[in-house]
Amino acid sequence: MPIEKLVSEHFSNPEARKLAWYRSHGGYEGAGKALDEMTPQEVTDEVLHSNLRGLGGAGFPTGRKWAFVPRDTGKPIYLAVNADESEPGTFKDRYILEWDPHRLLEGIIICAYAVGIHTAYIYVRGEYVRPAEILQAAIDEAYREGVLGKRVLGQDFSLDVYLHRGAGAYICGEETGLLESLEGKKGWPRLKPPFPAVVGLFESPTVINNVETLAHLPKIMVNGSQWFAEIGCERNGGTRLFALSGSVKKPGVYELPLGSSLHELIYQHGGGILDDKALKAVIPGGASAAVLTQQETEIQLDFDSCIKAKSMLGSGAVIVMNEDVCMVKAAHNIMRFFAHESCGQCTPCREGTAWVYRILTRILEGNATPADIHYLLEIADNMSGTSICALSDGAAMSFRSYVKKFTSEFEYHIRHGKCDVNERL
């Protein structure tokens, strides 16, 4: 059965960036239908029943997120679109921004209409220069053609969309860090409660949705929630984009229904392991997710199955490692990232990430003691559940999994001051 492409159908077609082409291929039909025929509540209900979940990483049901927003505060409601895609291994939103920007804008219109939003900000990762240019051109065209602005699609509904570029900080992809950054401040995540749905951007109720999440909305409007829910699996509606990278023959972005098997992604779509080596480990959802050993890779790609496997589907960034990969180096690489990107606001993350990175460096340099393994696990515990945002938890989940699941490799490094993987080569 051919796999239906919901958000990736226009990838690699430059024509799709143009409003006229997008429209002549069914574009803005979903938004048109929502604005013409449905009430905001009906739109929200449709999304709720579709089992669409936040595809930025947390997997929170999108319809429920919208329902939390209070409508009677007398303040405007804002939409912040999270396009600060920076989880290592993740490059799926970039494809949407680059190849199908109008699908995102259409999704924004639908969300805005459902929640009563008249101002949306798209926070684009600083390094995404080209995607930002393409998206801005699409926004400009949409304004010119009356798709955005005072009368959206000719209807009595106004919506302004602003593109805001980040300055290169991973933490600004954390939703409240993003809000701080949008307000012009240092991207330090906020204390919760209050949650952004109630007190968000400029102290007003705010919806924060990921690019891919919003890009799914047009088709849900056109085809209905039941159609979408049936594509996925239980409580995980529709498809999602998987960014496949690492030791595979054909890395890239693949759209699969939620609930597809990891092996299908790696072996059918990714063409199998690079150089036909043995599979050693897989990160199923970006650097913050716990690594899965070869034995654990018989897994379904949906939010709930990954949580059951004590990892997470996260941003859908699947990183494959074959038998040549040293897990100490892998952990070291990942912790260099987290130590560099920790915002420095709260103690366990600021100090923990940098400390762990230094311990791993010592292990790689052959200056470690057996006690270091114990320290690493204890530091992971102390970094979990004690911080303001999830960066610390993610970092701890990640390096703990390497130490616990590949202890012998760490021990070998400590004992012999070198890598047993290279030894075998």
Partner: protein, 517 residues
């Protein structure tokens, strides 16, 4: 008002208050770095994690609001474990240079570590290097290595002084507090960041290497820098007189009073204590052959009371002029009024300096009137007309003029040199004292007990901090000596007697935060 249970103790607290506030009510002190009651909640140090029933993980007490029936544990094993973990994290990049750190002895990093720290270090890596001993303003030195990034200082500059000099730069463990480019920490309240810094990152330039804090003792006092009457503690060292040239007062710290100054004081007040140990009049003087010469107390008391008595007999009360001072305590003013006004019948009792310029002031704490007790003098009925008293004295109408504490401007000199007989009583040498015939050494407020009435009419008590310097005596004692020498009935043995007569109550009956008149 919700009732919650903290460490098995039930307590009723106001709705909307936080767990850390509720804990304080039952006497359970939750360790904290970033939390300060006068600043917004940062929630970043993670030191105040507590266990709350039915919550999936530990919660920070500074940010979590109380809810009816909440069960909080501030001392459980899980909590202690988390605190120990946070302390270990905080020491990861801390230089541990306590032996050369002024904060040692009053450092919350030391204090909490002594209580619950993990003593065997597991940290084997190289520590982060950062800027040390950097002067960032007229009063403050920054040491970035000691900083634990609690951001109390940046929040103070943002929210209280509203001057925004300090920020956090960079991220991760390279994060550092620093000045924004081109700025200096020179706002009039800059010293407060030293007090609120829980570690040795921000220390005082004036106090730098002057004294280890465990040699200091402290006593409650009131700032005499202006008419606000900020509550302060005087930190002094009288056990090592060979240090700092015998200087006793080492520093001033603000003392919490929600009605007056909250947690803060201005720099002018904080660093305005030098007069207590400097340029003091240590013994009585009298003019002999045109020059002031040291004299015995008994001789001076004899001479002054005789001069007063004689003038009263020869010229009547209008032959004597008194210029008290808005820097004197209520008790001193009361007895001056008693002796000169009631007993001697003198009507010309002034108090103010007619040439006094307006001082630095703002809409926060600093008042233009730099006298701690002008309101007290006014309430006591002293006249404002010191200028006419000086003029009358210069013209010979007043034969004996008794001036307290003042340092008049140049204009006064011309008048004073024409007066027949001028007595000066004060704590410090001034140009005014220099041209008087008798100089009586009185104490500063730090050497006596009393009260000041601040500009809004709040009577506030201050303690005697240490003994009078050298031969100086407090104003109560001096009035007593004169009154007894002149054979007046005089039932006052100390400031408390004067206060009781004036206010009809004792010091013990005065509220901690002062009483409005």
């Amino acid at each position: 008002m919700p009732i919650i249970t903290i460490d098995q103790q039930e307590v009723q607290v106001e709705a909307g208050s936080t767990v850390i506030q509720a804990a304080e009510k039952v006497g359970a002190y939750v360790p904290r770095y970033c939390y300060h009651p006068g600043l917004s909640i940062a929630g970043s140090c993670r030191m105040c994690l507590v266990e709350i029933e039915n919550m999936p993980k530990l919660a920070i007490a500074c940010h979590t609001q109380v809810q009816e029936g909440m069960q909080v544990l501030t001392q459980s094993d899980q909590v202690t474990h988390a605190r120990r973990a946070m302390l270990e994290f905080l020491l990861v990049d801390h230089p541990l240079d306590c032996p050369v750190c002024d904060q040692a002895g009053e450092c919350d990093l030391q204090n909490f570590y002594m209580e619950i720290g993990q003593y065997d270090s597991r940290f084997l890596e190289d520590k982060n290097k950062a800027k040390k001993a950097t002067v960032i303003g007229p009063h403050v030195i920054l040491d970035q290595e000691r900083c634990i990034l609690c951001t109390r200082c940046t929040r103070f500059c943002e929210e209280v002084s509203q001057t925004d000099e300090l920020g956090v730069f960079n991220r991760g463990n390279r994060s550092a507090i620093d000045l924004y480019p081109g700025r200096t920490l020179d706002n009039p309240y800059s010293g407060n960041v030293i007090d609120i810094c829980p570690v040795g990152a921000l220390t005082e330039r004036e106090f730098r290497f002057q004294c280890r804090v465990w040699y200091l003792r402290q006593q409650n006092s009131i700032c005499t820098g202006c008419s606000r009457g900020c509550n302060v503690s005087i930190h002094y060292n009288d056990s090592r007189p060979y240090k700092a040239g015998g200087k006793r007062v080492q520093r001033l710290k603000p003392r919490f009073n929600p009605e007056v100054n909250s947690w803060w004081i201005c720099d002018e007040g904080r660093f305005g204590y030098e007069f207590i140990d400097q340029n003091r009049i240590e013994v009585p003087y009298r003019r002999v052959g045109g020059k002031l010469e040291a004299a015995a107390w008994s001789d001076v008391v004899e001479e002054v009371s005789t001069a007063l008595k004689t003038a009263l007999e020869k010229f009547g009360p209008q032959g004597i002029g008194i210029i008290a001072s808005p820097q004197l305590s209520n008790e001193e003013l009361h007895l001056i009024h008693k002796l000169f006004g009631e007993l001697m019948g003198i009507e010309g009792i002034g108090y103010h300096n007619p040439w006094e310029p307006e001082g630095l002031h703002d809409d926060f704490l600093m008042r233009a009137d730099k006298n701690p007790n002008r309101r007290g003098a006014e309430e006591m009925g002293f006249t404002k007309d010191s200028l006419s008293l000086l003029e009358k004295a210069a013209s010979g109408e007043i034969k004996v003029l008794y001036i307290f504490q003042h340092n008049f401007q140049e204009e006064a000199k011309k008048l004073l040199t024409q007066v027949e007989y001028v007595i000066f009583q004060g704590s410090n040498w001034t140009d005014t004292a220099d041209c008087c015939d008798i100089v009586i050494p009185s104490t500063t407020h730090a050497e006596e007990e009393g009260t000041f009435t601040n500009f809004e009419g709040r009577i506030q008590h201050f303690d005697q901090v240490f003994l009078p310097l050298s031969e100086s005596k407090n104003g109560i004692e001096i009035m007593t000596l004169l009154a007894e020498h002149m054979n007046y009935e005089w039932p006052y043995f100390g400031p408390d007697d004067a206060f009781l007569e004036w206010q009809g109550k004792s010091y013990q009956e005065l509220n901690d935060f002062g009483d409005l008149i």
